[in-house]
């Protein structure tokens, strides 16, 4: 019965679970290989894609629908003013190296993440923490600087998974967590192997062994799935091939939503993009439908702001940047760029960016804006665009959940600096009343849409191609993860 509930949690078909075959292997194809294996010290989503929920767990965790569930914390109490969280840890949990999980590990993890020297890519998640104390072996008290309605959500992120001081030294090569799978082997450039954790505290995994193979080339990915060399490929990189898989009884195609707001990022500090009128002209020059159809073969939902459409607090603001080339030309004229201008468009490898970039370049050209396209690899993109802020326009999908807060950071690569937005963001952090939060979020979404910070294109869809007998895979991607704990083969 315990198994059944775990399956239901993982979004699997619970009744079919009885027919499942316990044991056996799985090969998962992924496009990107992690640079190293420490989710708490890098921005690379590829790390969580392999390790989240499988090897590492946090105090809380995301379910397949994006809701927050208890993880290593069995339960918690929140003080009346919302500033003190007392977590009760699950008893009997051990790390894969045999050491026990205790309150000291949680204190270590949270202190390490919010340290000044911390390499954590999402330090903002921990900013609100004032102190972390171990009350006894299994009880941790976290005191916040102020009430934070998002705290349990923050603790579910891959960047907040619990690590142990005993195994931290070698974590980048040999990660040691508490999850249902144990890290086994990493053949760099090829694959990572995980094996079932027989000592797991919760429902053990069905699979004996899971191999992640890294296939970056879309053609090779197509061939690997067709030849059944991989059993599942979450985030299949060539949407044009999906109809073929759908027509083939050997495969199932799952199309889900992600937290990926795909946007045409603009360098708000670089002329002429520092002029709101110019940014607005660019926004009106873009035909989202053509981009979604042409680059993604129809997969994706148009968005008008930096917020996921499936979120209950989403506001549809696409009308603010409707496709209107006439208006766009007029705005350019008013801004003093009637003769157009040339801007650098730097594109990372995914097809939404490369193909989308060509389409957007053509659309911008028709209103008089010339683009200079440069195709970059991810490492170059992170260096030049994300860290170096040396760009005019770029296309990228922001896959972190609930990440509108990045607009409150003037040093972020958009270089958007709005005191009003920052005030709203600060107010949101302190607000716990859901109604008031929704109102604040609406104002935040509207603020950035009306400031035309970026060109908001579409919410990235995630197609997963898998063997037709495979059950329990996540359809949606509320966070970057390939949770295999509930995956099994149907007889």
């Amino acid at each position: 019965m315990k198994r059944l509930t775990a399956c239901a949690l993982a979004g699997a078909m619970s009744v079919a679970g009885w027919a499942a075959q316990a044991g056996s292997d799985l090969v998962v194809g992924l496009q990107l290989e992690p640079p190293h294996l420490d989710p708490t010290s890098a921005a690379a989503g590829a790390i969580d894609q392999v390790l989240y929920a499988n090897v590492f767990e946090g105090l809380t965790r995301f379910g397949p629908d994006g809701t927050v569930h208890p993880g290593l914390a069995e339960s918690w109490e929140i003080s009346g003013d919302g500033t003190v969280y007392t977590f009760r840890l699950r008893p009997g949990v051990t790390f894969h190296d045999g050491t026990a999980l205790d309150a000291a590990d949680v204190v270590f993890t949270l202190d390490r993440a919010r340290d000044d020297m911390s390499q954590n890519a999402q330090k903002a998640l921990f900013e609100g923490i004032e102190t972390v104390e171990a009350l006894d072996d299994l009880t941790v008290r976290v005191t916040l600087r102020g009430p934070d309605g998002n705290f349990l959500f923050n603790m579910a992120w891959g960047d907040a998974v619990i690590v142990a001081p005993e195994s931290i030294g070698n974590i980048k090569q040999a990660p040691v967590g508490t999850g249902a799978f144990v890290f086994d082997d990493w053949v760099q450039g090829d694959r990572i192997t995980l094996t079932r954790n027989p000592e797991y505290w919760g429902t053990p995994a069905w699979l004996d062994r899971a191999t992640f193979r890294f296939i970056s080339d879309p053609t090779a990915a197509f061939a690997a799935v067709m030849a059944e060399d991989v059993d599942a490929f979450p985030g299949f990189p060539a949407p044009e091939n999906l109809p073929q898989f759908e027509a083939d009884p050997r495969f199932q195609v799952l199309v889900g939503t992600t937290e990926g707001e795909t946007i045409l990022s603009m360098n708000n500090a670089r002329p002429p993009l520092n002029d709101k009128m110019v940014r607005r002209a660019i926004a009106h020059a873009i035909d989202r439908r053509a981009v979604i159809e042409g680059a993604m073969f129809g997969l994706g939902t148009p968005i008008g702001t930096h917020f996921a459409p499936h979120h209950p607090d989403y506001v549809d603001l696409t009308h603010l940047s409707s496709y209107d080339p006439e208006l766009s030309r007029q705005l350019l004229d008013e801004a003093g760029y009637g003769d157009g201008f040339t801007v650098a468009l730097k594109l990372p490898p995914p097809s939404y960016a490369r193909r989308g970039g060509e389409i957007i370049a053509a659309q911008l050209r028709s209103v008089g804006i010339e683009t200079e396209i440069t195709n970059l690899e991810w490492a170059q993109w992170l260096e030049e665009v994300f860290r170096g802020k040396d760009y005019g326009l770029t296309i990228v999908s922001h896959t972190e959940p609930f990440d509108i807060g990045i607009y409150a950071r003037p040093d972020y690569y958009f270089q958007y600096d709005s005191a009003e937005f920052q005030t709203l963001h600060a107010a949101l952090a302190e607000q716990t009343n859901p109604k008031k939060r929704a109102r604040l979020l609406e104002r935040m979404q509207t603020r950035i849409a009306e400031d035309y910070v970026n060109g908001y294109l579409f919410q990235l869809a995630i197609p997963t191609v898998a063997n037709a007998r495979l059950r329990g895979l996540w359809v949606n991607a509320p966070t970057q993860a390939t949770d295999l704990t509930g995956v099994y083969w149907e007889e």
Partner: protein, 272 residues
Amino acid sequence: MRRAGLILGLFLTLLFTGAAVLSLVWVPQDIEALRIAERMQGPSAAHPLGTDHFGRDILSMVMVGARTSIAVALVAVGIGMGVGVPLGLAAAARRGGWLDEIIMRGNDLIFAFPSLLIAILITAVFGAGAVNAIIAIGIFNIPVFARLTRGAALSLWTRDFILAARVAGKGRARISAEHILPNLANLLIVQGTIQFSLGILAEAGLSYVGLGAQPPLPSWGRMLADSQTMMAIAPHMALFPGLAILLTVLGLNLLGDGLRDWLDPRLRRAAR
């Protein structure tokens, strides 16, 4: 039979250069306008070679792509000839001297590297784009022309008419320019044609890996790369740019071979 090859080669070469020149003033359809709704259509009356994944007319793309390929290869061969031939002449004129040694060992150095790999390296370091592709391909044409020129010039230097010129008091540089170079013209034209076809292949290769001409400038290599994942659903997208590369390279090779036979008096006599 020999003549047939020459004529076919000439025909194919003129066909593609003609298409490239024509594309400067007219193409069947504007390739800068994307028509997503009409994408991946097979060949039809409106689009003789079908449309690509953005709904652009492939015939127009192939025509403009010819321009890119031919321009890149032509300039690259120009660089190779412009630098390589004077180097070869100088080396021959100073045969056995230190200048000869420096030039020829320098050439050996470039020859020792696999050309396409170095071209990829150059474009990866200095940035992808048509200009860097031209430079990268051009550099590897230099030793080809330098060696060829030196070898042929050396045999000319021993000839009586050169001796006569020397006796008349002409300097080495002047003899190289006035007597040696004109006698090498045939050879250089033939080699130029062959290098031209290799240049087209190299440009297609660089564009295929994304280091050649950047969008929106169409290029045969990139058309192939773009169509790769769509091969199963729209094979014509890969077929036509592939055929364009094949036929152009074949045409230039036939033309080169034919020209050599045509221009070389000894071979011409043998053919009769």
